[in-house]
Amino acid sequence: MSGSEFFAMGPYGFYVWTSYGLAAVILIVNVLLPLRRRKTVQRQLEEFYRVQKESR
């Protein structure tokens, strides 16, 4: 099987590769979101504890 044949997927290249592309996007986004959230939470909680200390 040649490379171009592989990418063509018969007449179904568009449908197959869009499906796999979407899957890749969804799998990656679901990793990036909690990573970003983790940073936000860290920042928010640092602020939360700082305010708490000052008011004490």
Binding site: F6, M9, Y15, S19, V31, P34
Partner: protein, 259 residues
């Protein structure tokens, strides 16, 4: 031994948080290996179907995504019920963390179904029982998240959302059996059929590998989300304060002079 005590001891956020942190890299590694092998099998080894040609490869994404969309919903509802009955905090955290992951797998199942339906059935969409009930599943996930977001108190939010999730469970058998109960455009099950699955082994292997990969992936990102959720909900505890701001040793005079 009192089951309540047992759950509260071993499912305490303080115990769970570091444990999840240690487990995540392992689950992530297993996910990567399973995905690599599954994709290789699905894209290079599996032959094109004699009727569907190469479009059959969409199945290796579509079926695992659809499976996950239902599986995660059941996990979410069961966790919600445990939160309601035993008042387990970690179960509430689990239920809440499931929703966005489950919703994204539902979107993936619907989208790949559409992308498979167009070349095979000649239409992107049909209001058939299977597709419609899967769309309702997406709305249930969205409703769950919206309801939880609309209530500030985490305990009350978890309880309200858990009840919604439990009512929505009725949709899961409807999705599963829709292809048998109604004369649908969607084809009937070929993997979970009683007895021998009516799918060739060369297609079944990559399919099962991808399903396994998606399952382990789900555990990985679920644990990541749960850890964030725990930090937020437990911010009034001293262990979270120490996790967020580890007590630093006071800088020595020598280090200060050097710097």
């Amino acid at each position: 031994m009192d089951i309540n005590k047992y759950i509260h001891k071993y499912a305490s956020p303080k115990t769970f948080y570091p444990l999840a942190g240690r487990l995540i890299p392992w689950f992530a590694g297993v996910t990567a290996v399973l995905l690599a092998v599954g994709l290789y099998q699905g894209l290079f080894v599996a032959p094109p179907d004699y009727q569907q040609g190469d479009s059959v490869r969409i199945m290796f994404i579509h079926v695992p995504a659809a499976w996950m969309s239902m599986f995660i919903y059941v996990v979410m509802a069961v966790a919600g019920a445990m939160g309601l009955v035993w008042n387990v905090k970690i179960a509430e955290v689990l239920a809440r963390s499931c929703a966005p992951i489950g919703a994204s797998f539902t979107v993936l199942a619907l989208a790949t179904g559409s992308l498979w339906g167009k070349p095979m059935w000649g239409t992107w969409w049909a209001w058939d029982a299977r597709i419609t009930s899967e769309l309702i599943l997406l709305f249930l996930y969205i409703g769950f998240m919206a309801l939880q977001a609309s209530i500030d108190d985490p305990k009350r939010a978890a309880r309200a959302a858990a009840i919604l999730a439990l009512v929505g469970v009725v949709n899961i058998p409807i999705i599963h059996f829709s292809v048998e109960w109604w004369n649908t455009l969607h084809q009937p099950a070929s993997v979970t059929k009683m007895g021998k699955p009516s799918i060739h082994i060369s297609l079944l292997i990559p399919l099962l590998l991808m399903m396994l990969a998606f399952n382990v992936y789900f555990i990985t990102v679920l644990l990541m989300r749960m850890r964030n959720e725990i930090l937020e909900r437990e911010r009034h505890t001293s262990w979270v304060a120490e996790t967020v701001e580890p007590p630093r040793p006071a800088p020595s005079r020598r280090a200060a002079a050097k710097g």
